[in-house]
Structures are given as C-alpha cells and as structure tokens.
C-alpha cells in the first residue's frame, strides 16, 4: 500500500507557520500537498490558482488542496484521507499551543500515513522569552523538544551573534536537532518535505517558484549489500547540516526485503517494505542538507563502512 508522508508544522503563535504554508501552497513544485490549516482566513492564495472553493476545502490548479481543521483535527484528517488517491503528502498545521510531536504520532496508527517530519518554527526575536513565559513557557518548550527540524524564522530581526546564540541554545536543549535559519519562512521545500516522488507524471501547472536558499544533495547507489549497523551509525553521526535522508536499501541481514530508511532532522526511522518484487535489487540513499553540508569526499568516506557487508 502506498503510504502518504505526514508532516506536522508546529510553532507558537506568530512564529510564521501561516507564511510557510502559504509559500508551500504557491510553490509546491509539482507535489500534491493536502494542507490542513487552523485559520482558513489567513491562507493567502492567488485567486487565479483556485479551481474550487468548498466550505471546508480549497482546491488549487497545482494539485494541492487546503482544508480547514475547524474544531476537530481528527475529523479533518479522516476527511482528507478519503481523497488519498489525489494526494502525495499530508501536511498539518498544529495550533499555536498544540504539541506537534503528538499529532505526528497519528501516522503510526493510521496505515495510510507514514510519519515524515515534525517541523517547528521559532521566532528568533521572541522564542527565548516565550520559552520562559509564566503561562506558555512549558508549551513552547514542549514544541521545541518535539521538533525533528527547527526553522529559526525572522532571522533578520536579530544580529548574527544573537542568532548563533539562539541556535546554540536550541541545540543544547535538544541533542542533534537541525536548526535552519530563515527569513519570512523561506526554506527549500525539499529540506522540509524531501525530494518529490519521481514517477514522471508531473504535468500539473506550476505556480511561481519562490527563491529559497539553495540546498545541497549527496547520493549513494550500490548493487551490493549494505551493512545495516554501519549505515545507521553513519547516519546518526551526521552533523546538523544534513537535514534529511531517504533510502531504499538492501541490507545484508535481510536481502529479500526492501528496507526503507527515513531521516528527518535528528529522527531516523527504518521499516521493512516487503519483498523486492520486480524492482531492481539496488540500494539508493540520498542526503539533503544546507549549503555547508560535508563535501562529497567526506560523505563517501563516512558511508564506506556501510558498503562493506562484513560477516553478517
């Protein structure tokens, strides 16, 4: 069964969630996102792109749909999954006080979904005050702690020194968390949602593309068997400049099964995806990262051990 990647966007009121989602709906890059939002009124889409506007759903020419959560996220999600065939990726906007990591867990009890990332936005100019606030401090801290990827938004409102200071503070709170600085929530779509599926059916209308900062990519392909432990160790040891990894792998310990490895920020998931069937017996791994990601030689070196199946 095809599983839809499930991403939750969290962050406190004013962190930039709506800006990010508006950006996503405009520049989806051919991917059909179903975006569940709290405040329909805040969604800002060029009316020429809207092909249908129902009570709870807006359908866009680029294949995306935007759905209102209303007062029940659960009901909104159940409704969206009825249209699963027309969707590539489900994105939920957590409310400003919700714990996005909890919402992401829905993917683990819904066979149609695959947990992707928990992306939390933080307003660089206010996140530390918020995290110390008498009423909402614990809420904000819970959100930050649950993030796989943190977007330090409104980076233009602080100095470089302050930004470095906040980044260090965020990484000190949550070991291994990736912090991506951004202005006006401008982040590469691939960094948040991974590479688009390459099924060659991309004939949809593309909206104006935003110009986010570039993203670096490294990949590995092998016809040999892969050492599971060595690969997971190499992934776990990657610096925070590597934002995501996705691999379909043939592990030496289970050569007859396709294994799917999925890394979003600091979180790594591995699952067995059944027998290979007619697919080529080949392992592929792709890393995506910020421009300062390790160079290819260094990455090749780090993953060399994984290509030596060893005595398994």
């Amino acid at each position: 069964m095809r599983r839809l990647p499930f991403t939750v966007i969290g962050g406190f009121l004013g962190a930039g969630k709506t800006t990010l989602l508006n950006r996503l709906l405009r520049g989806a890059g051919g991917r059909r996102f179903a975006v569940l939002v709290n405040d329909f009124g805040a969604v800002d889409i060029d009316s020429r792109l809207v092909i249908a506007h129902g009570g709870e759903t807006i359908s866009l020419a680029n294949g995306c749909i935007c759905c209102s959560i209303g007062d029940s996220l659960v009901m909104a999600l159940v409704r969206v999954l009825e249209k699963a065939d027309a969707i590539d990726h489900v994105v939920v906007e957590a409310s400003g006080v919700a714990d996005p990591a909890r919402i992401a867990e829905l993917a683990m009890i819904e066979p149609m979904l695959e947990r992707d990332g928990v992306v939390v936005l933080a307003d660089a100019s206010s996140v530390r005050d918020r995290a110390a606030d008498r009423y909402v401090g614990d809420t904000v801290q819970r959100q930050l702690d649950g993030a796989d990827l943190l977007i330090l938004n409104k980076a233009d409102l602080v100095t470089a020194a302050q930004s470095a200071d906040i980044t260090a503070w965020l990484q000190g709170r949550t070991a291994g968390v990736r912090v991506v600085p951004a202005i006006h929530a401008e982040v590469p779509v691939e960094a948040l949602f991974g590479l688009a599926p390459t099924d060659g059916t991309d004939t949809r209308v593309h909206a104006e593309a935003a110009q986010p900062p570039p993203i670096r990519r490294w990949s590995l392909t092998t016809n040999g068997l892969v050492n599971r432990a060595a690969l997971l160790e190499a992934l776990g040891a990657l610096p925070t400049s590597v934002l995501r990894a996705k691999g379909i792998l043939r592990f030496a310990d289970s050569p007859h099964q396709r294994s799917v490895v999925h890394m979003v920020g600091r979180r790594i998931d591995v699952r067995s995806d059944g027998p290979w069937g007619i697919a080529a017996l080949r392992s592929d791994l792709v890393l995506l990262g910020t421009p300062d990601m390790l160079d290819d030689t260094e990455l090749d070196r780090r993953f060399a051990a994984a290509l030596t199946p060893g005595a398994q």
């Binding site: 009121l13 329909f40 009124g41 999600l77 006080v97 009890i109």
Partner: protein, 546 residues
C-alpha cells in the same frame, strides 16, 4: 378574550422574593399571569381551573447552564456506565458494576446486530470504580474477534478497543505512541487515550459517527433527556454551528412539542473572528421562543481528571506535569475582545486555576479597552478557583458556573491524586461564590455526567463523593440556595433572568413539576425527589413513570 388557566398546586416555590411560596399560578398565552391565592388570581377574569398539579409541587423550570446536545447523540449507541442512567425514552439504563457485566451486555447487543462486520460502539464506561482492574482487549475479544468493538469512557477522552481494531490500525508491541497503553509484557492493552483514542473512534466507525452525534434526531433525544430530568432550558455549550446543525436546531425548535428552550454557544475557535461575529449576528436574527443563539464559548484548558487542566503552582498532587492549553492566553485575549466588543456574552471553559487566572486577566483587559456594563461573561467549570479569584470575578462583573457533579463522580480521584486534600476540599466552591457575591450556577456538563439538576443541587448541598467522603464543609450551600442556582441563578448566567428562572407575573410559564417538595425532604435525599414532568410556555410535558 385569551384563555386563562389557573393551576392549584400543593406548593409553588417561586424564587420570587415578594412571594416565595404560593398555592396557585395563572397562565395565559404561555406566560405567568399571576401567582398567589385563587382569590387574588380570580381578578384577572374568567378562567379554567386545572387541578392536575393539586397534589404536586411546582418550581421554576430548571435551567441547565452547561450541557451539550452531544448527550442526545451518544444515545444512538448503547450505554455501559457504572451508574443507572435515564435514556431519552424514559427507561432506566441499568448501571453495570463489573467489567464482566459490561462484556455480557455488549455480547447481548453484538448478537442482535444485523450487519456482519459493522462496528459496535458503546459509551459511558468509567474504569475508576472497579478497584484498579482495567478493561483490556481480551475482555472485548469475548464480545467479538471479527467486529470492531469500541467502548468510549465517560470522559470521552479514553477508549477501549478489541483486537480487530488494533490489527486494522497496525497497533502492536512496536507502536510507540503516546496514549496507547501497554501491559507489562509490552503489548497494547486495547486502551487508547486522548488524540489516539479520538482518531481511532472516528477511523473505525467512519464519518457516520459525527453525523449520528449531531443530526436532528440527536437534538430531540437531548431535549427529551433534559425534559425528563425537569429541565426546561438547556445550553449546548460548544458548537461550531455548521449549517446542517443550525437547520436541525431550527426545525426541531419550530415544533411546539419541542420540550425545551435550547441555547447553543458558538465555539469561537471555529471561524476567524470577523466571520464568527457576522455569523452569530445573523443567527441571532433567527432566534425563536425555543431557540436562542448568541452565546459564545472559548475553551482554554483541558480537564483535571485528564491531567490536562492548567494549574497554578504547585501543580498536580501526583507530581505530573502541567496540562495543556486548548487556546493560548493571547488567543483567548483576542477572541474575548472581539466578541466582547461586538456585545456578545462569552462563556469561558476554565478547569484549572491558572486557566481561570488567564480568563480573568482577559476579561479585565477587554473591559479596560472597551468598558461594558452587565457583560456577564461567565467562567465555566472554574473548579479550582480560590477566594481571591472569586473576589476578582465579583469586581469584574463576571459570573461563574461551577461543575458540582464533579464532586461526586471524580471527587475521590481529586482528593487522592490530582488536587490533594486541601484543594479538593475547596473545589467547585459554591459557598465562596455565595459569600463573595458572584452570581453562580451549577451544572452537569452532559454527557460527561448525566443531566439532572436535582442531583447537581444535591452535590452542591452535600459535597459527597462516590465513596462517601465529604469534601469541604465550608463550601456546602443550603437546599434553597442550590435550587436557586439551578433556576434563577443559571438563568442569570445566560442573561435570561428577566424571562425565566422564577415564577412571577410576565415570565414564561416554564415549570418543573415534582412529586416531592425539595425543601421538605432531608437534604441528603434531594437527588431522590421525583420529577413528574415539566411545563414549557404553558404546554404540559408529563414524564413517563421512571
């Protein structure tokens, strides 16, 4: 000449200070023409004398200030709670006092189901009364190993399911999800909590669940359950009010035999404020005698027993972390200000004392920006407020509606686990409300607890928990004060005290008719006072013998 009917009664408790008790009430055009002696009322001209209440006691119709029409929705599914509960048809659904009894009841229902694989949903289960034993999937597998079986707990936040539901969702020992309870061996027990529970309920039973919970039939069932307990006015205190629901409410309330006045509160979070205000302004134009739009609801925190209430220092007695905001403080401010500025009355759900503090701060700020007399914004539940917070309510002109039924159903848990003795003893502080002069009501929050104002009044008077402990002598109130809280007190918190809540000239002829006199029975027996039926706008609704 409009017809006048004079009803003699054994006693009429009026809630009207000028004439607290009377023997006769005259009704004309659905309203109270007068109350007093027959001689005093005869001056109004020709009348019919209707003696059907001669041996009965009349009170102002009970007003339930915090209930949910969802109560009518859940009755489309079988009830499996610990306590007896009256269903919309008037029959008593027997309480089930062991897990085996719940299983046996479910097996009976399962065998009578006509579809082969449709889900079996039941509600009202409460695990706290079985001496620590929890229901597990083996129990529900005895009901069926093919059909999905789901038992929703009385708090509506927890669910027990059987193995087929777990298998279909792919939940096993490897599923590490908050809210999926596991046994010592690491296997899921079938108990699901919070968002996992909610999701599974909808997923296993489909969209039909939502429809069954909110269709027009559901609102009729709600009205009937309310009416059977003596209620003549009830709130549906949180509703997104989609068009389908509005239509159902308009259709139901258009019928003269619809037995209650229904007050839906619009859930402020459902729409951007400008749209919400406009929607509500339009809905108010469609009000009729039995349907009143205009209330607004804001939900701030969760529940105390669910450990999701926002508490001030020192937090939960069992040391667990503070609860969660459903709506954060800034958002509360923004929503309250918008509806306050538009002239609406806002009901604010606050269970924990930190949530109450934030709500009071928001009311104070709204009033500073936009002074407004007689707003009557009301804190709902407000279970943990201390005396200082009550004094602030009084100073700000706020009202409070206290969750008295909690004392009985969860008082023991609050005493031992969530609040600890000191705060459990002062929870739902009716005595403090009275002493500080805060206008107050008491409520049931149906379907969380059954609707029944006499039981709710009994809770406020006796403050007795399910195990028999008394919580806080100083917060007890008299029977007379409790009866006022479920009539005129509640009417005041809904801005309807000029129209209902007491029996006096000019008001609606809404009465609760009782077999026994609640002021004469022992206070401990208040909950056992029998309800004969109700009168709504002069129309008589006799309850079937229960």
């Amino acid at each position: 000449m409009p017809s006048t009917v004079i009803y003699p009664a054994r006693r009429i408790i009026t809630m009207n200070a000028h004439e607290p008790f009377a023997t006769h009430v005259a009704v004309r055009d659905g309203r109270v023409l007068g109350v007093g002696s027959l001689a005093e009322l005869e001056g109004w001209g020709p009348y019919d004398l209707d003696r059907r209440f001669e041996s009965l006691v009349l009170m102002p119709g009970f007003v339930e200030g915090h209930s949910h029409a969802f109560e009518g929705g859940v009755w489309s599914f079988p009830y499996v709670g610990f306590f007896d509960r009256r269903s919309p048809d008037g029959a008593i659904s027997q309480g089930l006092t062991s897990i085996d009894a719940v299983v046996a009841r479910l097996r009976e229902i399962e065998r009578s189901m006509t579809t082969a694989d449709g889900p079996l949903l039941a509600w009202g289960f409460d695990p706290i009364y079985f001496g620590g034993r929890r229901m597990n999937r083996a129990d529900l597998d005895k009901v069926s190993v093919e059909r999905p079986v789901l038992v929703i707990h009385s708090n509506f936040h927890v669910l027990n399911v059987n193995s087929p539901v777990l298998a279909k969702a792919g939940i096993d020992h490897a599923t590490n999800v908050h809210g999926i309870v596991k046994d010592d061996a690491g296997q899921p027990t079938g108990e699901l909590q919070e968002i996992a529970a909610k999701y599974m309920a909808y997923r296993a039973s489909g969209i039909n669940l939502a429809a069954a919970l909110s269709d027009e039939a559901a609102v009729w069932r709600f009205a009937r359950v309310a009416q059977l307990s003596g209620v003549t006015t009830a709130t549906d205190l949180h509703n997104e009010l989609p068009d389908s629901t509005v239509t159902g409410y308009l259709q139901a309330s258009a019928r003269e035999d619809f037995p209650i006045r229904l007050l839906p509160a619009f859930g402020a979070i459902a729409l951007p404020v400008e749209e919400g205000v406009a929607k509500l302004q339009a809905l108010v134009q469609r009000n009729n005698e039995r349907l009143r739009f205009g209330l607004v609801k804001i939900i701030t925190d969760g529940s105390i027993q669910g450990l999701s209430a926002r508490m001030r220092w020192p937090g939960y007695y069992n040391g667990l972390p503070n609860g969660v905001w459903n709506t954060g403080p800034e958002e509360i401010d923004r929503l309250l200000q918008a509806y306050h500025d538009a002239g609406f009355q806002v009901h604010i759900h606050t269970n924990g004392d930190e949530a109450s503090e934030v709500a009071l701060d928001a009311i104070e700020r709204a009033l500073t920006r936009t002074p407004r007399r007689d707003h009557r914004h009301t804190l709902q539940h407000c279970q943990m407020a201390d005396a200082a917070q009550f004094r602030r309510m009084a100073a700000l002109g706020a009202c409070v509606n206290l969750f008295a039924n909690h004392l009985f159903y969860w008082g023991d848990i609050h005493y031992a686990q969530t609040l600890g003795p000191e705060r459990a003893n002062r929870m739902d502080a009716c005595g403090t409300a009275l002493r500080t002069g805060v206008p107050f009501a008491i409520h049931c929050d149906a379907p969380v607890t059954p609707i029944g104002p006499l039981f709710t009044a009994w809770c406020a008077v006796n403050r007795r928990t399910a195990s028999g402990r008394t919580l806080g002598e100083a917060e007890k109130i008299s029977v007379a004060d409790a009866l006022r809280a479920v009539t005129l007190g509640a009417a005041y918190t809904l801005k309807l005290d000029h129209e209902i809540g007491s029996i006096e000239v000019g008001k609606r002829a809404d009465f609760t008719v009782l077999h026994d006199d609640p002021l004469e029975v022992a206070p401990q027996a208040l909950k056992d006072v029998r309800v004969w039926g109700t009168v709504l706008g002069g129309r008589i609704f006799e309850a079937p013998a229960g």
